[in-house]
Symmetry: C2
């Protein structure tokens, strides 16, 4: 059997990583600032990169902390804010690692339904009116993982109003923002309410995952508190990798890389939508305007767990929808199109459709 086609992993294929640009950036980082790139540095990150991020967000550098990937940023934020028993609102579905991380900390996780224009703010208002007192709401506003949906501006404003009324922090987890290949950008919540929102993003999707560089933007006091946690965890994050990313960003390579990535994602998402329309018309989905993911809802009776097993036998991998929820989601699934070629997409969808048919027929025969 040939190499499996993976719709499972939210990671870029190597052909859309600017390896030459990274080599040049590494060379410049070690020529231009050998002391900064090789020394311990500080727990807030490599200072020139911190400044570059601060300028992009139009905030003071004291509001920025650069970490070893944005997962680590999430972990620090949860360590700073979430105590066992604290209520945390998340989207339903949401990123499985976030769910796991919150549950490991003993948080009382409340999932609120995600709609194609973002979290159901009216449902959240009802949860709050019923007495929930969340410490934090975790929101992936753009091209959400796993659904690919984007939170509308109206809903961003409504969410911030709820946060202000009920005194909770909004965690705007935004690694895919730069990967919009259609439509218009929506204002960041951290720009709309800088004292109530903590923003996280990453260079994993715009430079490459292996550099493990993420960051937080938030209120100065909280960032200072997290800097202390970071000192205790690792003294300082990776100065060499951050110095390389800094050179990559400041040289214009970042913009070129983002264009390459967006062009590939646009092509792949269209190929995926078209192949699904042709071969698996039973699947409902919203065509994404950016990011890595598409969410499929299959007819209610579909056993996606069985379908995943059969698909794996046929050489195609994806993640079951139920992995992104505390309960339910048994007839949904996530397809990542970031790491597959157009040819693989077409072949993969045909195999997915075969797995769907076989599992449905088996279920029909058993009924």
């Amino acid at each position: 059997m040939s190499k499996p086609i993976s719709f499972a992993r939210g990671a870029p294929s190597l052909d859309i990583v600017d390896v030459e640009g990274l080599r040049a950036a590494a060379d410049r980082a070690l020529r231009n600032d050998p002391a900064g790139a090789t020394a311990y540095g500080t727990s807030v990150g490599y200072l020139p990169l911190r400044e570059w991020i601060a300028e992009r967000h139009d905030v003071a550098p004291e509001r920025v902390l650069v970490t070893n990937g944005s997962m680590q940023a999430d972990a620090f934020l949860f360590d700073a804010l979430v105590r066992p028993g604290d209520t945390v609102v998340v989207e339903r579905p949401t990123y499985d690692r976030t769910l796991l991380s919150l549950r490991q900390r003993g948080a009382d996780v409340r999932m609120v339904q995600l709609e194609p224009d973002g979290i159901d703010v009216a449902a959240l208002a009802r949860v709050l009116a019923a007495g929930a007192k969340p410490r934090l709401a975790h929101i992936i506003p753009n091209f959400q993982n796993p659904a690919g949906y984007t939170l509308s501006l109206d809903k961003r404003r409504a969410l911030l109003a709820l946060a202000a009324d009920h005194g909770f922090v909004v965690f705007e987890d935004d690694p895919y923002e730069a990967l919009r290949f259609e439509g218009e950008p929506v204002a960041r919540m951290v720009a709309l309410d800088p004292e109530r929102v903590v923003y996280a993003s990453s260079f994993s999707k715009t430079v490459c995952p292996g550099v493990r560089v993420g960051y937080l933007v938030g209120p100065e006091e909280l960032i200072g508190q997290i800097a202390k946690l970071a000192t205790g965890a690792y003294i300082s994050p990776n100065m060499l990798a951050q110095a390389i990313v800094n050179e990559f960003c400041r040289s214009g390579a970042l913009e070129r890389s983002i264009e390459t990535v967006k062009a590939a994602l646009r092509e792949r998402s269209r190929a995926l939508a078209q192949a699904l329309g042709e071969h698996l018309p039973q699947a409902r989905f919203v065509a994404p305007q950016g990011g890595y993911f598409m969410w499929l809802e299959l007819p209610r009776e579909t056993d996606v767990a069985a379908m995943a097993q059969r698909a794996a036998q046929l050489g195609v991998q994806f993640v079951k929808g139920s992995d992104f929820m505390l309960e339910g989601g048994e007839s949904s699934l996530r397809l990542a199109y970031s790491g597959v070629t157009v040819e693989e997409i077409e072949r993969g969808v045909r195999l997915l459709a075969q797995a769907y048919r076989e599992v449905s027929e088996r279920a029909g025969a058993a009924a």
Copy 2:
């Protein structure tokens, strides 16, 4: 006033970092393995580097986990093994960040006196006989931080025998091992008892701190457990930096870098010993055979806190001995000679001696 002379920071000066070698290694890493250097990788670290470390230790790769610096390795090990209330034995004095990290986890920290040939094993035996049931003993066997002392082979064996009898894990925290510039190496405890010892080391002192690459060697089951913690913390450590370190190690640059570092440390430690003999004969110390640090004991009545203040005014920094203990140490201090030139050492020691005289005279006048 000119730039302060820092005997405070355990970090190398830039002149002993092989920046050219790092540039070449970065270039090769991205040419030879662009996929591995830029992708997420796995939480056990960049596989070729993991293999290189395993070969050096003559163990299976499954016993090795490569982390973002050895502080992070320590943190994972403590997370895996230490629960609030657990007894942990440490040396007195010991690395201040280890003390802090253990106390933050609610450990019951028992300090056992460090002697010039390592931890007082007889005193530890008495603590154990009196009923202490440690989970872990944290030991820095070579050129200890802060004291610069090395644990003798006899004491290593005695310590392992106590660990076997009383069922505790020995955490062999060994970042300075490669920096021996005099005398003969002593066998690693992890080689003497691979099932009872977890070993940590780092490339911070042999490549540079900014790469933030450390590692653990230990029993396969424990390493597997820590790999899961690492996945939850950051998915994977820095693949780009680890790929660069891998190239640096495999090209022979590591051996050359270690020779450069050792030559500088030998020269600096001798200059320090000589200057102290000349200008501050009141200080007792053991001339180190490797590593970064020298421990000074001043006459019992010396107020080292006051001396540190006065020295800072004169432009010289060091760390007070009391920072490395839970109590006591008021007449001792740590000098790091890794980041200072011979000229700075001579000038710095003269200023230290001046601070000592002034503080002693003030105390004498007050008495």
